[in-house]
Symmetry: D2
Subunit: 378 residues, 4 copies
């Protein structure tokens, strides 16, 4: 049966606007689904940029005011790719307009905003999801399956970090279109909301809830020129953040992120150590999962590098043939796939706004702890 159209209204046209759009366009070429996304409209304040984006990607129309987009009857679902400080307002309005919502991470500027947003989507009963896309890297999804199978036994340790190096240059300005992530007014926080939020989402998904944290943050470059004012201004985001924590299952956690780790472009890694096995993954070699299986006979034990490209690995049966890797962008294709299947089956794909709120709470506890210098309960 032919899939039903699902009309998408995209708000934003940056890096994430491209990544999500690519997901919508490609998903039906590879997966059999109940819905087919239609690129109905893209919305941006700058009309020329909206037009250019629409033309490049094939959106049927543009809007320059997101409220008008929400008012359109031909939009089924809204995708929010704006800076973080607009997530709340748009989400709540979209929910009230009865639109499904696919919101870029982090959910909100803080937990309080997130609570309001959850209330709004749940009251409206609209489908909602947050783009913590790394859950859908096949190797990560497979890690989840291995853990859920019980193969690791009791978990002792979870560690994750997200290391980048793109803001080391002191001449890099802050704020404005391309660099709003360096401006706390637009982003809420620095690496905590941008990078650690990914690590935390995966951790909660793989290893359950976090009880308490002790954290430190640092801003290495204290002042940068602001792109909007043209003046040197105080940098208000965290350049780096690390925290220790306890998980509810008794395991210990260690998290770190920074944009000052020279040599690492986007090195998101995690490792889980259990009684009977361990798992490691990193984004720079995203198609591999490292697996140590204690059940193997003694002298043959070793870390196995699983090349997650076989037909029996998550999502991979629909792509190419064994040995041929897919990439970063496919995590978005998979998120669209799961979202559409969730619509069809009535079992919504996560992380929902409610799921993503848990990550927000950990982020808030981390920032609180860093400020106060003491352990904080989540």
């Amino acid at each position: 049966m032919a899939p039903k159209p699902l009309n998408i209204g995209m708000i934003g046209y940056g890096f994430m606007g491209r990544a999500h759009t690519n997901g919508y366009k490609r998903v039906n070429d590879f997966f059999d689904l109940p819905y087919r996304p239609v690129l109905k409209a893209v919305c941006a304040r700058d009309e020329a940029k909206a037009k250019a984006f629409a033309e490049q990607w094939g959106y049927e129309s543009i809007e320059t005011d997101w409220k008008k987009l929400l008012a359109r009857k031909d939009i089924d679902a809204v995708d929010i790719c704006t800076p973080n400080n607009l997530h709340k307002e748009i989400s709540i309005a979209a929910a009230q307009a009865g639109k499904m919502i696919l919101c870029e991470k982090p959910l909100a500027m803080n937990t309080a905003e997130g609570e309001e947003m959850c209330a709004a989507v749940e009251k409206a009963g609209v489908a909602n999801i947050v783009w913590y896309n790394y859950r859908r890297i096949p190797a990560v999804t497979y890690a989840k399956q291995i853990i859920d199978s019980g193969k690791l036994g009791r978990i002792f340790h979870y560690r994750a970090n997200f290391l980048q190096d793109w803001t080391i240059n002191a001449d890099l300005p802050q704020g404005g279109a391309a660099l709003w992530r360096l401006d706390a007014a637009a982003a809420g926080s620095g690496v905590t909301g941008d990078l650690l939020a990914h690590c935390i989402d995966t951790a909660l998904w793989l290893n359950g809830s976090i009880s308490d944290v002790t954290a430190m943050t640092e801003t290495f470059i204290k002042e940068r020129k602001h792109q909007l004012t043209g003046k040197s201004e105080k940098v208000t985001i965290d350049d780096a953040c690390a925290f220790l924590c306890h998980f509810a299952n008794g395991s210990l956690g260690l998290f770190e992120s920074t944009r000052y780790a020279r040599g690492h472009k986007a090195l998101y890694t995690f490792e889980v150590n259990g009684e009977n096995g361990s798992l490691k993954w990193d984004l720079h070699d995203l198609h591999r999962l490292q697996w140590f299986d204690y059940r193997v006979e003694g002298p043959l034990r070793g870390w196995a590098s699983i090349h997650v490209t076989d037909g029996d690995h998550p999502y991979m049966g629909k792509w190419w043939v064994p040995g041929l890797a897919i990439g970063y962008e496919h995590s978005f294709v998979h998120q669209v796939k799961d979202f559409l299947e969730g619509l069809g089956s009535g079992k919504p794909a996560g992380p929902t706004f409610r799921d993503a709120l848990e990550t927000q709470k950990v982020c808030d506890a981390v920032l609180d702890s860093a400020k106060s210098g003491s352990w904080k309960k989540v």
Copy 2:
């Protein structure tokens, strides 16, 4: 300026039909080009399969006879994804019909066929290219740039292999739709034309022509059930092939491919050793290039693992951000991009039929040498 439409007629709907189609569909989302491929028609003998493919991928129409496809005025370019034994006939007819041709590799069943095909396309003056896609993996393209820059100096060694393990099971049948690659009547040869041809194409591109070869082939499983006859029949392809050679530049070559290397799914690797530097690459970690630079001060020298995901790496400026990998399929997107740019600029992208004929000649010399047990000139 909006790109001009280029109407594609696809012949075949298998693995390569999907890979090429994906290239056509995606290229304009990421690259600014003079042409935009239009999925005009797909052709397959089995009407139901043609329809299903057209629906899945968005082809506007279908044909069940490739001659009818060639007769259509609304087709600009023909993409040949059939088994190898049809490449010649279709190519020559397409050239005579004035169609551009994008032909799957290897070019032909043998050199003689290839010569005829080259003559046909050159007489007709139609654009032509062969899908040796690995040239367009960014790390491979970058290797080419490094070599061409002269950084390696005099070349001493080139080695490549392509290792798979999918035919070890003796119960695997041969022939028919999915397994024609195991049937010499359809494929011409086994791993030589299927896998070594890739290694040879890259080698000729990176290191120049090959002068002579000594080779051995082996067929490990002597009989397999044929899918079309249902009977156990002699296996006529080479399961494995290895050869030594001299390059015209004085360097030594070592090539091997097999489908019996347990643990390797699609491990295509090459390495070049020069006076002042060396390069290594493999398809299982296709986003990395290993580079040894002798110019580095002594004790700091080491093999650098270049994560080929930066904006200044070939093709990568148009994809995501540093650290975020693309995959196998993108090599086809890049080939379409280069082909379309070549149409615009009048400087045709390679490998043309004529270029691919060189690979065919080496393959023939290899198979001759294996049969005769002596060195063969190319």
Copy 3:
């Protein structure tokens, strides 16, 4: 000129007794030195074991009372390989007896003990060193040279961990000869003094002093049979410990150690991220140093894996030829070499007792922080 004899009295015969003795026996075969260690006596309470050890390794005599050993005129230097709770008493007595001291790490049970020991050796004016042997792995020594050369520029991050998995089995007993490291009465602490102490020593050496810490510890298995009493007793050591810290140079630190990381035997790793370069090392591949050099032209940048086996790498000119690795035990040979050279030159090799006291202070702050749940100044 022939090296002068230096008579060694070894106290203890366990793992470290073997490692140190091996260092004494081998050093003059490879290095030209002012002294030649002579295996004069080994001391152990169990006479049979002392005899067996002396016979195996070639000690000339035995003692069963360390006080008698210290009283011997023919002993120049005492090597203390006892459990940690004896380091203080023996060291102070040895200093008073005018013996040089080579003491196994950690220096002491705590900072207070360490202060007394420093006072004693400094008052007596005897040569003293602590066996933080990892400084003398060639790749680690080379890391120190690279950092000291200024190639990394401003340092932003330092992270280290030491992961093992040998105590996961709940049936493993605690205490007694082989397992005193699991008994806080003999060891002082668990992984903090045993493993983190190594990480801290290296960190202080490479990156300078640590200002303050926040830590957590955990004991996963709460009770174990004690080998001496035969009864199940509370486990009093820390099975795992992690801490965050600030270094005096403004960089951030992250440290972790555990004996519950399934799949890791002795994975001591560290990484330093500076403005212009980064370094990584791990004990499982101890002959390699990972080096990222930002000075390299953009697209060629990558982590270089330096195979630290060349003649111009630290210590390596005296071993074999490039490409041929040495191992763990050689770090002790190198420590003996440097100690003996220090005796000759009058510039004592570190870490001296005073140097090792700094590590002790950090360990104490870490354990205090874990107990109190708050940041502690060192």
Copy 4:
């Protein structure tokens, strides 16, 4: 019971003289054995060098004429570390003098010499062994055990190479004390006897005999100054050699060695592909064995990196603790251990002269094939 002394007479004092001597000196510290090697005498034509070596390593006496050494009654075993062109004469004389012989590899200049040597030692009934030391790297020994257990099933492929880069510099002279390996008159051949001989010995041990070969050799630098004559002379060794072969078990072999592979210091690697599993090893990370086990459940399959440092790995129970690597030199310690145990048990450790003769035959066939350009039977 105390081990019996075994008096060693060493002929030569170069790299191998050091490596073997180190083996003799250390073996009893770690292994319980029926014999204890005694460093009785070292023999070298240059008296000063012999003295210096004796002093450094602790030999009791020196000789400057190997015939005098052989005449001494207090010598039980002779170790031959001379250039290859002296192996035959000394071996035969030593056998006639009733000495055990430990001969550096390759056994001889060619097969004919090797036959005479075998005849001599067998007639004399003296213990004999050849220093193909790589068999005794624990990871290699363990590979042998895995293969012998049948875990790989039918073998399809064996490939090995030995890549170095130390002779690329055209100014490097040939001949004389340090560089006799570049002089065919002293060495017999270039990389074939020096490097490929190692690869072949391991291959025969792991995968059985070789039936026939086709080979090519190359001399990249045609003339070099000779150290003894001071004149530029033709280079007569092979700088590089590669060959294809069939093993008697039906598997295919691929071998290569060179001293012109920039970036590789001593990269000896081998890989075996069997029906049910594959193994890979390389000398640059000699403590690791890569193992692919097809019996593992599908999606969990991957290449396992076995860190061969556990107590249940070959030889490792006598060294340190899991995770702590040993190095290159230990292969010689292990060879001494096995040789001494063989003396005690009456089951001689290999490779004996007779075993090593098989390697010589393959080397000769390889060189013959390269010269004639045709396949040669071994």
